[in-house]
């Protein structure tokens, strides 16, 4: 083993770390005399200093790239060190890591050195060595480069467990602006082929509980020029019934979108995710808060903090789509294009639909139980099971895992309401915010470690303004300069600006939306 391998590993894992997915789930495979197995629930092996889990050895085959996507660390014009793994070398490294239980398997992506097909060919060769020479039976996640030929896609799918094609940006406009060499159809083509192949072999399952709970296929036509628009007219790929056979990509497919590099609204992002889930039956749509890696004028300035809070809220909304039976249009509508930074989208929805509450715990149908803030899928199931035997009492709820801090405003137990006054949105919102204020003051402003970045905290971006890109650039550039000269104190003006005024009810407008104003 020489120093070059260390160097290669450092460069090629550094280039791959912005890919979010590290899932090792969705495949159950016992060992039939090979090396390794796969566990349906997935297993995390470690957590890096940024708190993200490590399940797979996530590397690029090479970071030499002909593309020049502006948001990417590996873009052709970037001044960075380049390297490439030999397929056999990487296969051996994966095996040695795997038998030490460092990883669950391999996540293999690559920059495009010559052409998409050439890259796919190399990825296939590496995975083939792993499966056939080393008899590896652990998890493999392979990245599909947009524009790859169908034959190579099929061959990679036969050796990998999960495939992913990255959407990268939530609208065609941003894609054209920031990644001119990538075309939406180059993304949707392989995505559709994967779904059709899965449907053909009767293993297409779709995300979470969405198919069982949500309105089927409805609601997918979007607006606002987001990518969802382009999928209009495509028929949802139907999930088949029948025996489960494990062959082509048994773990399904996922994708990822960069958040905060382009001016799309949360609504566009959520609508795009919903369409991806409903039409292509993706397992996951990941979000990646944009971390400034270039000085391109179209992008947020260097040193502006990544929009971690926004990413967090989007993931919460994503869960509502997949596991709670919400449709995107319910989470955000024309009047509310951005998620509320102060509270999670489920409470936000409940407060806008307060007429549906309080809900009687002992009578409400399960799908309504799931919509109560503070009640999750496990506690909803427990409530539904126990009330068949005896009435659920208020004191039981905590033991079932219900978060009463939130739930008590929205429920009655055998007719009694425990939320204090009547369910009134302004009153509840103030109480909920007060609770998080107290927590923040106790923990020195670092209430949620997910969003804390620098000591002392920084003004968190609420949501980027929905201004057109041209107007945004004009404000972003000077703000970027002040941000870099005054350390980390200021977020770019364009990002810190509150969302455009909308016709919110007076009750909501009364509560200021900027956290720093609220605290004073």
């Amino acid at each position: 083993m020489d120093g070059i391998l260390f160097e290669k590993l450092r460069i090629l894992s550094d280039g791959a770390k912005y890919d979010v997915s590290c899932a090792t789930s969705g495949v159950d495979r016992t060992n039939v005399g090979r090396v390794g197995n796969a566990c349906a629930a997935g297993i995390c092996h470690s957590w890096t200093a940024d708190g993200r889990c490590v399940g797979l050895l996530k590397v690029l085959l090479t970071n030499r790239c002909v593309y020049d996507c502006k948001y990417c660390v590996n873009r052709r014009s970037a001044d960075t060190r380049r390297a490439a793994f030999e397929p056999s070398e990487l296969a051996e490294l994966t095996m040695e890591f795997y038998r030490r239980n460092y990883i669950e398997g391999l996540f293999l992506s690559s920059a495009v050195e010559v052409s998409p097909d050439d890259t796919a060919e190399k990825i296939f060769r590496c995975l083939h060595i792993l499966r056939e020479e080393h008899l590896f039976a652990g998890y493999i996640h392979a990245k599909i480069i947009p524009g790859v030929s169908p034959e190579l896609l099929t061959r990679i799918g036969m050796v990998a467990d999960r495939l992913s094609v990255n959407v990268e940006l939530p609208s065609e406009e941003s894609l054209r602006l920031l990644a001119p060499q990538k075309k939406p159809n180059g993304v949707f083509g392989p995505m559709k082929r994967i779904s059709l192949t899965l449907a053909e072999q009767k293993t297409l399952k779709g995300p979470g509980l969405m198919d069982r709970m949500g309105p089927p296929g409805a609601n997918v036509a979007a607006g606002d020029g987001c990518l969802a628009e382009l999928m209009r007219g495509q028929n949802p790929v139907a999930a088949p019934r029948g025996r489960y056979r494990e062959r082509f990509a048994p773990g399904g497919q996922s994708t990822q979108m960069i958040i905060g590099a382009s001016p799309e609204s949360d609504r566009q992002i959520i609508k795009t995710s919903e369409s991806l889930y409903r039409i292509f039956k993706l397992k996951r749509v990941y979000f990646s808060a944009y971390i400034p890696v270039s000085d391109a004028p179209e992008l947020p300035a260097r040193f502006s903090p990544p929009p971690l809070l926004r990413e967090h809220r989007l993931y919460q909304a994503d869960w509502l789509l997949r596991f709670y039976g919400f449709a995107a249009d319910e989470i955000l509508d024309e009047a509310h294009p951005f998620l509320d930074a102060d509270m999670d989208p489920k409470i936000g929805w409940a407060l806008r639909h307060i007429e549906q509450f309080p809900v009687e715990i002992n009578k409400a149908p399960p799908e309504l139980l799931l919509r109560i803030p503070g009640v999750g899928s496990v506690s909803a199931l427990r409530i539904a099971r126990q009330r068949r035997i005896s009435a659920v009492k208020y004191d039981d709820l905590k033991k079932m895992g219900v978060v009463l801090k939130r739930a008590r405003f929205f429920i009655t137990c055998s007719g009694k309401y425990y939320g204090g006054k009547d369910p009134d949105p302004v009153y509840i919102k103030n109480l909920v915010l007060q609770a998080s204020d107290i927590r923040e003051s106790l923990t020195d402003g670092k209430a949620s470690p997910q969003i804390s970045m620098f000591d002392g905290g920084f003004p968190l971006p609420i949501a980027p303004s929905a201004a057109p890109p041209a107007a945004r650039n004009a404000t972003a550039a000077p703000a970027g300069i002040t941000a870099s000269t005054s350390g980390y104190s200021a977020a770019p003006a364009a990002i810190a600006a509150p969302p455009p005024a909308s016709d919110t009810p007076a009750a909501f407008a009364a509560a200021p939306r900027l956290p720093e104003i609220r605290r004073s």
Partner: protein, 251 residues
């Protein structure tokens, strides 16, 4: 009456037997850990395989197989007073039958459910956090290299790890060593047994092993995104008490 037993699962089941056939139990404790109590009578229960088997069968038949599994899992925890909580659960189970699992609000069921969850969670966590090293006998260079993973879990989980790792490393010979309890899971070709194990020093890491550790640390450092640094979140998922045996965290 307080019953004292030898710390084994059979011993515990014999205490349950004594509760029904001798005198009601106010508490059950392992002999080694219990101090004498002036106010309460104490009785040592001898472990008797036949009595234990009868209680075992009764739980399986009158409550359910999955509750038997839950009781055993909870018994393997290190929670103090787990025996008394389990006795309450078994008594309630004999009354309610298999529907005891649905009584989530009941304090007796809740307590046992939580203990069980502690164990199950640690088993799952350890499936990821266990780190194997390639080792050889320290004396003499002969012999095939095997894998060894030291750990110091909160609960007695070594046998719950067996199905997962014996399937995964069917072609390897390996030892999972619980340093805290001085026992180990020994496995080769998918077969396994549990034994007392103390002299871990007789095995030494191979030269290649140290290289791969370095590579892994290199990788681990490279994939963290500096702009998102969040050590509190890292510690929540990977508590510091496990770090001693985690390659990338102990340097």
């Amino acid at each position: 009456m307080e019953y004292l037993y030898d710390g084994s699962f059979e011993g515990f089941l014999c205490c349950v037997h004594a509760h029904y056939h001798r005198e009601k139990a106010e508490g059950i404790f392992p002999e080694a850990r219990r101090q004498g109590d002036l106010l309460r009578a104490q009785g040592v229960v001898e472990t008797d395989g036949e009595k234990a088997a009868r209680v075992y069968a009764a739980i399986e038949e009158k409550i359910s197989k999955s509750d038997l599994k839950r009781i055993y899992t909870a018994f393997c925890s290190s929670v103090p007073d787990k025996e008394t909580a389990l006795l309450r659960y078994i008594r309630l189970g004999f009354k309610e039958g298999p529907k005891i699992r649905l009584l989530h609000g009941d304090p007796v069921v809740f307590a046992v459910q939580r203990i069980e969850q502690n164990v199950v969670k640690e088993v799952h966590r350890m499936c990821g956090l266990l780190r194997f090293s390639e080792v050889k006998p320290a004396l003499g260079s002969a012999g095939r290299a095997i894998l060894r993973a030291p750990m110091a879990p909160d609960h007695d989980i070594v046998e719950f790890l067996a199905p997962h790792f014996c399937d995964r490393f069917k072609r390897e010979a390996f030892i999972i060593h619980d340093e805290r309890r001085g026992k180990a899971l020994v496995s080769a070709a998918g077969e396994w047994y549990i034994t007392d194990f103390r002299d871990a020093d007789a095995l030494a890491e191979t030269g290649e092993e140290l290289q791969y550790r370095k590579l892994w640390r290199e990788y681990f450092d490279a994939v963290a995104i500096r702009e998102r640094s969040n050590p509190a979140c890292q510690r929540r998922f990977m508590p510091a008490r496990y770090w001693k045996n985690i390659t990338e965290m102990s340097r």
